[in-house]
Amino acid sequence: MKKYMKKSEIWTFGIGLFGVALMTGWMPDYTATFFADFAFKGKGFDSDVMANMISLVFLVAGIVGAVCELVIGYLVDNTRTKFGKVKPWVGFGVVPLAIVAMLVFVAPNTNSQTAAIIWMFVIYSLYTAFSCAVESPANCFGSLCSPNPSERSSAISIASFLRSVGQSGGMVVVLVVGLVMKAVMGEQQYRNAEGRGLDLVISTAVCALGLILFTMIFFTNNKENVPYTQEKVNLKDAIRVVFTYKNLLMVSLTKLCGFGRGVYGTVSLYIAIYLLGSKDLKLALLLPMGIGTAVGTLLVNLVLKKFSTKQTFILFCVYGASSMGILFLVSRGIGFNDGLIIPFLILNFFCGLQHGNTNVTPNIMIADCVDEIEYKTGKRQDGLAYAGYGLFSKVASAFTKGLGPWLLYTWSGYMVSTDANIAYAAQTDATLNKLLMIYTIIPAVFVILQGVPILFYDMVGEKKEMITKALEERRAAANLSASADAENA
């Protein structure tokens, strides 16, 4: 089949997603840390009220994101420009996104707790809306980069890999920024600056710059090769598509049922500080997991050659929960000391393998579902399917972002530092144990739950083969008809 993309386009698509992930992958964790530990340090605000409000900020912002997902999906499908329908959102949206992301880390100098809370709600909801306006269309570009399914799959898998690398890129940035600041300012002055969250401010600026640089490379080099149709899209259709078709609904429900599997991200910084002994180990903590995810992506492709998407998904869910259970037991067995670092990091790699599954398999399933919908209705509705799936993702993400900080700042009994020169306060053993549970056992339960809807998924085996064949025949017939019309004309 004809190739539509230049080789460089396949890579610059990935580079674009890398840039977006560099910013969006960094923001939630560090925003939570910034709001809790640095933004209003020394202002004397009620810490219990602030902890509860931070949970609510993430919950509300997540819901804002869910609504935006659908609205942006709707607007993208109705965008008609000379650049295509997705590219303008990415290319022009990154400028305000970079600025707003930076402003999240510039807290107002106020003594009013109410004003501080309002600012947190407004700025983070604004960031969520802008990130949605860029990230969702950027992810959607995969379905428009080429009409050739094989070429499209290659581009999507390379981009997915680079996106997952980008999600950990922020950790590298904060480490490098810390080293540079230490070299320039001296050890103690760096500590003083860190105590005011200034390393986070500079790291965000670097990530924002990366966002704009890498996205512009994508923006100037990539083209949409699937022409858009002139049909106007109805907002109701977006909701109907995801709720009418069982298989698409089941894939979407995996997000909702497994919403708590991402809470480990909320505590990863604290695991590095309190259980492993250094903030800098957050990179060491996430790097094995990131490598595990990359290896997992390759592993999933191998497993998919032997098993169906349904079997692969369930297999990886069982494996993922088991690996996190083992990490919990080993950590409790060794205790929170230097001896834990190496086993923890090794097991972290094995825990990361499962994420390859959640990165790849649902995307393949959605593509199969779009085929099924086309087979049943005669219409190919990639954009709406993506928006519907994205809606569930955002709702799940809102729950994750609400649950994570609640578990950390309320349930675990985490104590924030009130000393302007000390970044992180000492914690009790009970709190440390709960931090470990948030990183292992609690996500493990949600990993099992996310596999449940897939038990009802049936776009596999003979049914899938039959639909693929029928669609091929239908498209061949349509091409013949179009050719005949052209000749007659």
């Binding site: 000379k82 400028v95 600025i99 401010v201 500079i202 600026a205 704009i212 512009m216």
Partner: protein, 307 residues
Amino acid sequence: MDKKEKGFNLKLYAAAAFFAVLAALVLITVFTFKTKYTAYHPEEVARNYVDTVVQTGDGYNAYKNALISKSQKYGDFIRTYYMNPVIYRDTAYKPGDDIKDCGYKGFNDESYMGEKSKNDDGSLQGQVIDTMYDYYVKLVTDGWDDYDTIFTKYFAKLVEVRKEVFGDDYMTDEIMFTALEGNVLKYGQSLTGTEDEFDKNTGNQTSFKSIGAYQKAYGEDYKFTTAVKTEKNMDLAAYKAALPTEKLTTYGVQADDISAVKCYTVTVSTEDGKTVTETDVVVAQIKNSWYADNTATDTSALYGFYK
């Protein structure tokens, strides 16, 4: 599609967007850094130095913004000059030695741990900290300006007290920091008072309300405000000539590094505007940053003024 894209230069837009965002990010970062990082503002360094001392009687942590912490982490300075000489007292340790390279065996070696050290659940360590507290209070009666005496005497006493409680010579920097910082915290609470606190999970009371010395003197809802009153002229050459060079060497600072010096009178007032005490703070500039000169600043007026 190519033809349609004519009329809008994508590359030009990309370059313009990149540089516009770069400029905005630099402006925001510089603004935030200048606002939050006090070391660029000499007045704020002086005020902050007094504020840290006076709010909780904490001359110990105030040094984190002083010349003493210019070139190294404050904790590392304490380790090098005051903790390691105690831990490695039976070796040829000299400040600056790399302990790993020299292969010194100090009292932090686990072979010095007795049964009580191995089995302590924290209660014996708590007993040590409580016993040390009265000694700490005596040491800081006139403040923290003579840190050399405070660190030296405190850690020597800690060795004695710990041996009485645990019956062994085991000693680590962590034990030393825990005891000292525990005493610094308790001393602060004796001034400010404490509130009732309850464990979030069990509901058990973890601390009880107490009335601090400041509250007794100025009322339970007292609030101290610190402000720079005046700036005094200082002669840079005379200031540099009078600097204690030996002390500065331990800070990794030379007189020639200092490019400017200022002196501010900082007042401490209650909410009704009444000044309760004041002191002169000397601040020195090295490159772009300002540091409180702890060798030339007398903070004794910030301790005991409430009596």
